[in-house]
């Protein structure tokens, strides 16, 4: 097992190196001179020249990469040029927001998606099934920003129940925090619930037609027990994998939803930084996200290794 662990750890280093090269390289493909983008409306030639020198923009690419990498290796992701804040500080600031939004969205998606999937499978070819399918189709085809604006108009402007947008830290005011996060989490969760519903339905249909379910029914078990205890448990395996993947995706930032609801998370941070050519922020945040992915992946593999005794030998 130790060997396996060492092997895996050894692959992390080249993977991260490759990721860092990719992030840096792709960034250079962006059209437009970052110094001009950063120099603002006036584009004063002195300022442009200063910014070029400051960010080594006139130097060869490998050298610039080395400047950045050596900073990263010393734990310095650089500063945001636009707002003069260290990138690490920005990450620490945004991370809890993104984690909370992603977690709430996934919970909403799981609750809605799994229930709708189970009902639709159990009540196959009935109005329940059709209704759940319509819901899934609606969820998949509704653009997030549009649904977001509709919800704002209904719950914030018309009914006045929820704030239209913005973010409040849960440590400041938990109630206000939940009120601000529920709509964006629902918008994100709704789209993902539709995917989960479709997968749950097909997994359930497959399991419900298997031999052991027939045996369970033959034993005279209550239908609820058959569905929830015997069928759903097995059907959930692919759903959990899907849910985990979805969570990973959401942690990378939900750009449009964050934009509509003005949630200061990762997605908004990266997009704003790309448009403003705030290179340090883009590179730092993407590298951080990639590192989290790789680490989670490693942990998942290790967990699998621990759970499945056959792999240990």
């Amino acid at each position: 097992m130790l060997n396996y662990l060492l092997q895996r750890l050894a692959t992390i280093v080249p993977t991260l190196f490759f990721v860092s090269v990719l992030i840096f390289g792709l960034q250079q493909l962006l059209p437009g001179d970052p110094a001009i983008a950063l120099a603002g409306e006036d584009r004063d030639p002195n300022v442009v020249a200063f910014l070029r020198a400051k960010f080594h923009l006139d130097e060869p690419l490998p050298l610039r990469y080395w400047y950045w990498l050596s900073g990263v290796l010393h734990g310095d992701l650089g500063d945001s040029v636009r707002i003069q804040k260290p990138v690490t500080e920005l990450i620490v600031e945004k991370l809890p927001v993104t984690i909370q939004l992603a977690t709430m969205a996934i919970l909403i998606a799981l609750v809605i998606g799994i229930s709708a999937g189970v009902i639709s499978a159990v009540k196959k070819d009935t109005w329940w099934d059709y209704a759940a399918n319509v819901f899934a189709l609606w969820g998949l085809s509704t653009p997030n920003f549009w649904l977001g604006i509709l919800l704002i108009l209904l719950f914030a402007v018309q009914l006045g129940w929820l704030p239209a947008s913005g973010y409040v830290s849960p440590f400041e005011d938990l109630r206000a925090n939940l009120a601000a996060m529920i709509m964006p989490a629902f918008v994100l969760g709704n789209a993902f619930a539709a995917v989960l519903m479709r997968h749950t339905r097909s997994a359930m249909l497959q399991v419900l037609s298997s031999d052991y379910v027939r045996t369970a029914r033959a034993k005279g078990l209550d239908e609820r027990v058959v569905v929830l205890k015997h069928a759903l448990r097995n059907a959930l395996i692919p759903i959990i994998t899907l849910g985990a993947l979805g969570l990973g995706e959401l942690l990378g930032g939900a750009v449009l939803t964050e934009q509509v609801f003005t949630i200061p998370g990762f997605g908004k941070l990266i997009v704003d930084a790309v448009f403003n050519r705030d290179y340090s922020v883009v590179q730092g945040v993407v590298l951080f996200t990639a590192t989290v992915y790789i680490t989670l992946n490693l942990l998942a593999d290790l967990a699998y290794f621990l759970v499945n005794p056959r792999l240990r030998h």
Binding site: P31, G32, D33, P34, I36, A37, A39, G40, E41, D42, R43, D44, P45, N46, V47, F50, L51, K54, S80, R82, I83, Q84, K85, L90, E93, I149, I152, L153, A156, V157, G160, P163, A164, S165, G166, Y167, Q259, V260, F261, T262, P264, K268, L269, D272, F275, N276, R277
Partner: protein
């Protein structure tokens, strides 16, 4: 009775503790007046940093930290008398030494965006604590207007020296509110400064600036009562909001403009295209455009048509260079004379919705005269780069504007203007621009601008289209707003009735 008094005291202290919540259309950049570069950042500065001079609704120069000014006989020295009893947010005293420090910081700090604006300032003398003398290498009429903006903003020398280039993360000025907190892309919070020199004009305890990029969401926040004020209301939202008595809309014609820059000599592309090569083709293009219709369709009527770098109501607008009327027949005739009946060119357009709409309307109008306009939607930062390199034929570009006409003109039209993307260079025009800079008499300056306007209207390096309305929407209870054309939200006098 005692109870009533208590209630009244409580109510008044509550009113005093009010927070003003302002919705911004973008997230501001660095909050350091020397390094700052965005329009939206200036709105926050209006609450945070006082300036030496200010503007009024008619663009007149009025006192702020300087109570009066005087030019020397040769117009090469500007003497400012400073307000006494002013302190910075850190308790430091504001005096002539502080002004000297600030102007020198603007000029010498690496990456300063103010260096160009203050290029003519050769030295600054602190004559006595309340008198400062600014010595210029040549007379420079726009200086007063420059001092009404970021170049005139005074920061605490002590704090600026201590923080170095990180000053913008925790700015210390002398404005009515002091910096409290900033969460990037979320909010900027300012707290009332108790020792403000004009504290009687301040009626809020706190201002929270919230950047909300989406105009619909910004408006929804106003309508649901989470914001008291929003800037840049979308023109399409005006009719709906007008009918709601809970809100008011203010509009101000901007000091900037929206126009189409034409590459007439920036690169070899200019000669390859009839539009850049032949002034008759450019004239035909302009005659194909109906500015009223453009404003009506693309801006829902929320702009004032124009054909110069200042709006027609500006004192420096050249009245004998009027807005040309649409004349498709004449446009076709001109194209025939130029030997290109169906000229084709690419119109580079930033991806903002305003610019896209303008480009589409222009495309449709020009087609009637025989032009084949290809719209090339280009992300903003990329478009700036292409413009600077001359890699474009025509470019839809807005300028937020400066209080002095020179700020809208020299940089774009003078041969060596840093933003001269057109590549336009006419010695006579340069001379007139230079003379208008060095002459203080407004009537004389207007004459020089007339010379420039005549040339520009004839040669068309930029076809100016209109001047947008700054649309502000706010709670009807909010009073004391001053509609100054620079689009800044001045917080002095604002209160919730």
């Amino acid at each position: 009775m005692k109870c009533l008094a208590l209630i009244l005291t409580a109510v008044s202290s509550l009113a005093g503790a009010q927070t003003l919540r302002i919705g911004l259309a973008e997230d501001p950049d660095i909050l350091d007046p020397t390094l700052a570069r965005t329009f939206v950042g200036r709105i926050v500065f209006a609450g945070l940093c006082d300036k030496l001079l200010d503007l009024d609704e008619k663009l007149n120069i009025v006192p702020q930290l300087a109570t009066s000014y005087e030019w020397s006989a040769d117009n090469k020295t500007l003497t400012l008398k400073l307000r006494s009893g002013v302190t910075f947010h850190d308790g430091e005293k504001f005096d002539a030494q502080a002004v000297k420090f600030n102007l020198e910081r603007h000029k010498s700090m690496q990456g300063s965006n103010r260096r160009g604006e203050l290029a003519v300032v050769s030295s600054v003398d602190a004559v006595d604590p309340s008198t400062v003398r600014i010595n210029l290498s040549a007379p420079f009429a726009p200086l007063l207007a420059v001092l009404t903006d970021r170049a005139g903003m005074m920061v605490s020398p002590k704090a600026a020296q201590a923080a170095g280039e990180k000053f913008g993360a925790h700015p210390v000025c002398s404005g009515p509110f002091r910096f409290a907190e900033r969460v990037a892309q979320d909010r900027i919070v300012l707290e009332r400064f108790a020792n403000y020199w004009n504290k009687d004009a301040i009626h809020f305890q706190r201002i929270v600036y919230l950047p909300i990029v989406d105009a619909t969401v910004r408006l929804a926040n106003l309508r649901s009562g989470q914001l008291d004020f929003i800037e840049r209301l979308a023109p399409s939202d005006v009719p709906a909001l007008k009918s709601d008595s809970r809100f008011k809309i203010d509009r101000i014609v901007e000091i900037g403009y929206q126009g189409i820059t034409i590459n007439t000599g920036k690169s070899e592309l200019a000669q390859k295209n009839p539009l850049g090569r032949d002034a008759r083709v450019r004239e035909a293009f302009e005659l194909a455009l109906d500015r009223d219709a453009i404003v009506k369709v693309a801006m829902e009527g929320e702009a004032q048509v124009g054909n110069q770098w200042v709006a027609p109501n500006n004192r420096y607008y050249a009245k004998n260079v009027p807005i040309p009327k649409r004349n498709v027949a004449r446009a076709k005739e001109l194209l025939k004379q130029a030997g290109v009946t169906n000229p084709s060119f690419t119109l580079m357009t930033p991806t903002t919705s305003d610019a896209q709409r303008v480009a589409q309307v222009v495309q449709a109008m020009a087609k009637e005269a025989g032009f084949d306009v290809k719209i090339q939607s280009t992300e903003f930062a990329t478009s700036l780069n292409l413009a600077d390199k001359g890699q474009f034929e025509a470019y839809v570009l807005a300028w937020s504007g400066r209080a002095d006409p020179d700020g809208n003109l020299q940089t774009f039209i003078a041969c060596k203007g840093p933003l001269n993307s057109s590549g336009y260079c006419v010695p006579e025009v340069d001379e007139a621009i230079e003379k208008a800079r060095t002459t203080l008499d407004p009537a004389q300056r207007a004459k020089y601008y007339e010379v420039v306007a005549t040339h520009v209207a004839r040669e068309r390096p930029i076809i100016y289209l209109y001047h947008r309305n700054w649309l502000w929407a706010h709670s009807a209870k909010l009073t004391g707003l001053r509609t100054v054309p620079d689009g800044m939200v001045r917080v002095q006098g604002l209160q919730m009735k």
